[in-house]
């Protein structure tokens, strides 16, 4: 929806800088610019911002090998996890307990990451679904549809937060249990 509080000629000033103006609009703009110093000033201000951002964008240099590192990480995801073995009988229980702590810590961390990753993807998929509905059924009230999807996203956020809190509680209890087992294993028999 076009914001009515923005002067239509100011909108055209911006559209021209962005290369989004039609020849008819450009002619109208030229006439307005000749008569209105405020529009000339606006054009200059927008031009300054645009130039600044263009220079900033050009100064960004993606690091070499970025794509290779991403592909490598993705391929490692499919690789089987290594298993560490110990032959020392005395250290075996402690090493096992320590490994368990590390493993659970890592799975807790990865679990949280994966939950957050799924939430992001779910959000993006919902946005895709909303676009699809609008494309297939342009007669649908777009604002009402947007509210519906927004409400769904809010509900999903609440579920997500609750789930994360529940996971933290469960994993916290597990950690305490593990510590108790380690202490028990340390005690002389």
């Amino acid at each position: 929806m076009t914001d009515p509080s923005i002067d239509p000629m100011a909108r055209l000033v911006q559209a021209r800088l962005d290369g989004e103006i039609t020849p008819e609009e450009e002619r109208a703009l030229e006439q307005a610019l000749a008569a209105r110093p405020d529009l000339q000033d606006l054009e200059q201000r927008l031009r300054d911002v645009k130039r600044h951002l263009e220079q900033d964008r050009r100064s960004i240099r993606p690091p070499l090998g970025l794509a290779q590192r991403i592909v490598q990480r993705a391929s490692q995801e499919d690789a089987p996890a290594a298993v560490v073995r110990s032959s020392n009988r005395f250290w075996r229980p402690l090493a096992a307990a320590a490994a368990l702590v590390l493993l659970l810590g890592a799975s807790f961390y990865l679990g949280r990451e994966s939950t957050s990753a799924e939430a992001d993807v779910e959000r993006s998929s919902l946005q895709e679904r909303e676009i699809d509905v609008l494309r297939r059924h342009p007669e649908v009230d777009a604002a009402a549809l947007k509210s519906l999807f927004d409400a769904t996203l809010r509900e999903l956020d609440v579920i997500e937060r609750r789930r994360a809190a529940d996971r933290r509680d469960v994993m916290g209890r597990l950690e305490l249990g593990i510590q108790a087992l380690i202490r028990k294993a340390d005690r002389p028999r």
């Binding site: 076009t2 962005d18 600044h52 794509a67």
Partner: protein
């Protein structure tokens, strides 16, 4: 007044975009079936673009690379969730903007825990004005901080326009809003950014 020209959406560019979109669909289908080379081709096609998008709002290079890695990792794991109703790149941009926004929120939460006066947050320090000795890197930091401090609805549009050079229509596709909304928000975004960066802008 210096005449500068800004790139218009040319017919050649549109044709190229359509071709890329068709290639993407085929690569996504192959990657989903387990073809690593197809996924690698998608990564090689988009990694630098996504890096530039994320770097527009995050200054720290290590953090930018981490976020970009996360984005592609999510995409890799969830290719099956991409239902092909829109172009792959629109989905990728949405995942990217959401992931980068989550990173900024987390960073702000972490800072809140360590700063006694939370009111100093989200307010880039632009006191002192431009320094003659301010180097390009400092200017980059000021710019990305100013962009990061914009409300999401303005920030996303500004980044897609200025750091990805998407047309109004393409931005509307990515952000599922009308072209009119893109124009209005872009206008507001530039006005807000201008006031934040006022001391650093060169008139020309």
């Amino acid at each position: 007044m210096e005449a500068i020209s800004f790139r218009k959406t040319s017919p050649e560019r549109s044709t190229q975009a359509v071709k890329e979109a068709a290639d993407d669909q085929s690569l996504v289908a192959r990657a989903e079936a387990g073809d690593q080379e197809a996924f690698a081709a998608l990564v090689h096609r988009y990694a630098d673009r996504i890096y530039t998008l994320v770097a527009g709002m995050i200054h720290d290079r290590t953090a930018v690379e981490d976020v970009v890695q996360d984005i592609f990792f999510k995409v890799y794991r969830k290719l099956s969730a991409f239902q092909g109703r829109s172009s792959f790149y629109t989905w990728l941009y949405r995942v990217s903007l959401n992931t980068a926004t989550d990173h900024l929120k987390k960073k702000r939460r972490d800072r809140h825990r360590h700063v006694e006066d939370p009111t100093v947050l989200d307010r880039p320090d632009f006191t002192g004005g431009p320094d003659e000795t301010m180097d390009r890197e400092e200017l980059r930091q000021k710019t990305s901080e100013a962009i990061a401090s914009l409300p999401t609805k303005y920030r996303d549009i500004l980044l897609l326009r200025e750091y990805q050079e998407l047309s109004y229509e393409e931005i509307a596709d990515v952000l599922q809003c009308s072209k009119g909304t893109v124009e209005s928000r872009l206008f507001r975004a530039r006005a807000r950014l201008r006031s934040k960066l006022e001391p650093y802008l060169k008139r020309g």
